[in-house]
């Protein structure tokens, strides 16, 4: 009798090769290993559970269709995250949530927002444990605009360079730099306010 392979014990390159040759079970195992990561990335950008689930599933379908383009230059997880990130940006564009002519953007270009907002010293945050810290940063991310959050996610979590972000978001490097600066300042300010409210800083 033929033994059924234990896919959970198979290493990633073999699973990818199996999926490339049409083995759905290999692909299912890859989905099982990375579904939470792909969903996490989608949620980080979209901040909406249903959309994040849908977009992450679309990312898997796209990945299946484009497996031939994966040559292992980056890790499979990185490649997948790029796909889901692109889908999220497309969705934001479709919903016109990525604005290019907002007041916020005009202010960024001229500088007053940054000038009005002093960057906060986030050192007291070190007193919090990892879980508390993550929750507070996540809350602050939730309060950023789609533009600023997207740039922050692409830079800090996807590790893209300014130029790559500019290409993906159809904007200039200057705008990317400005959005990133503003996003960091605002996030630090939001964290500072939260810590003040909780009495962790004065």
């Amino acid at each position: 009798m033929r033994k059924v392979p234990d896919y959970s014990a198979v290493d990633e390159p073999r699973l990818v090769d199996g999926a490339k040759s049409g083995d759905m079970q290999s692909f299912e195992e890859l989905v099982s290993r990375y579904r939470d990561k792909v969903y996490t990335r989608a949620f980080s950008i979209m901040r909406n559970e249903d959309l994040a689930v849908d977009l992450s599933q679309n990312a898997w379908v796209k990945a299946w269709q484009r497996l031939a383009q994966f040559h292992g230059d980056a890790s499979f997880a990185t490649w997948l995250n790029r796909i889901v990130t692109n889908l999220c940006l497309d969705e934001l564009r479709r919903q016109k949530r990525l604005r290019t002519d907002s007041i916020e953007e005009i202010e960024e270009a001229t500088g007053p927002v940054e000038n009005r907002m002093e960057i906060q010293d986030v050192d007291p945050i070190a007193k919090l444990n990892q879980k508390e810290l993550r929750e507070r940063i996540d809350d602050a991310m939730d309060k950023l605009s789609d533009n600023h959050r997207a740039v922050l996610v692409l830079y800090e979590y996807e590790h893209l360079e300014y130029k790559e972000i500019a290409d993906q978001m159809d904007t200039s490097i200057g705008t990317v730099m400005s959005r990133l600066f503003y996003a960091r300042k605002k996030l630090a300010a939001l964290l500072g306010e939260e810590l003040k409210r909780e009495g962790l800083i004065e």
Partner: protein, 170 residues
């Protein structure tokens, strides 16, 4: 340099996005400006804080249900590389087989157009045979043992006819 532009350059220094000469220039700027030194330190702190603390999330639905929806979408669709390989093979075969198929069709048509046995108005008994030869001269022979009869048809070109005539005359 405008203040806003300097701040963005400080950030680019933190993000290692400057060339070595630009980075050196910004370090010189910072040496003479405490405010820029504070900004640099705070940006590093914020960057570290964000990059190391992405909130991990778990799918809000079961893994099986999640996979079922993906499987429905990709069911019956092979990965692109396999599909494209198959289509390449099909194209390759088609390019090479098409002429062969054409030749085979012509041969079949010619075969179907071969002359049938002529109707001589003779009733033959059971045991007879039809023999076809295909050399220089097209020869068709009909033999019937029961009827003690043999009929031979000759079909040849004018050139051959002339040669035979000359042979007989000799």
């Amino acid at each position: 340099m405008k203040e806003n532009k300097i701040e963005l350059k400080i950030q680019a220094l933190v993000d290692a996005e400057l060339t070595e000469s630009e980075a050196e220039q910004m370090r010189e700027c910072m040496d003479n400006d405490v405010r820029l030194q504070i900004l640099y330190a705070q940006l590093i702190q914020t960057k570290d804080l964000i990059s190391k603390h992405e909130m991990p999330r778990i799918l809000p639905e079961s893994g099986d249900f999640y996979w079922t929806k993906i499987a429905q979408e990709i069911g019956g669709v092979e990965p692109a590389n396999q599909g494209s390989n198959n289509s390449l093979v099909i194209k390759w075969l088609f390019r090479r087989l098409a002429p062969l198929l054409g030749i085979a069709t012509i041969v079949l048509l010619i075969t179907l157009q071969q002359p049938s046995v002529p109707d001589l108005g003779i009733e033959f008994k059971s045991d007879h045979e039809l023999e076809l030869l295909d050399d220089d001269i097209e020869v068709m022979t009909f033999n019937s043992i029961d009827d003690s009869i043999s009929i031979v048809w000759l079909d040849y070109s004018m050139d051959l006819q002339k040669d035979y005539m000359e042979l007989w005359l000799d």
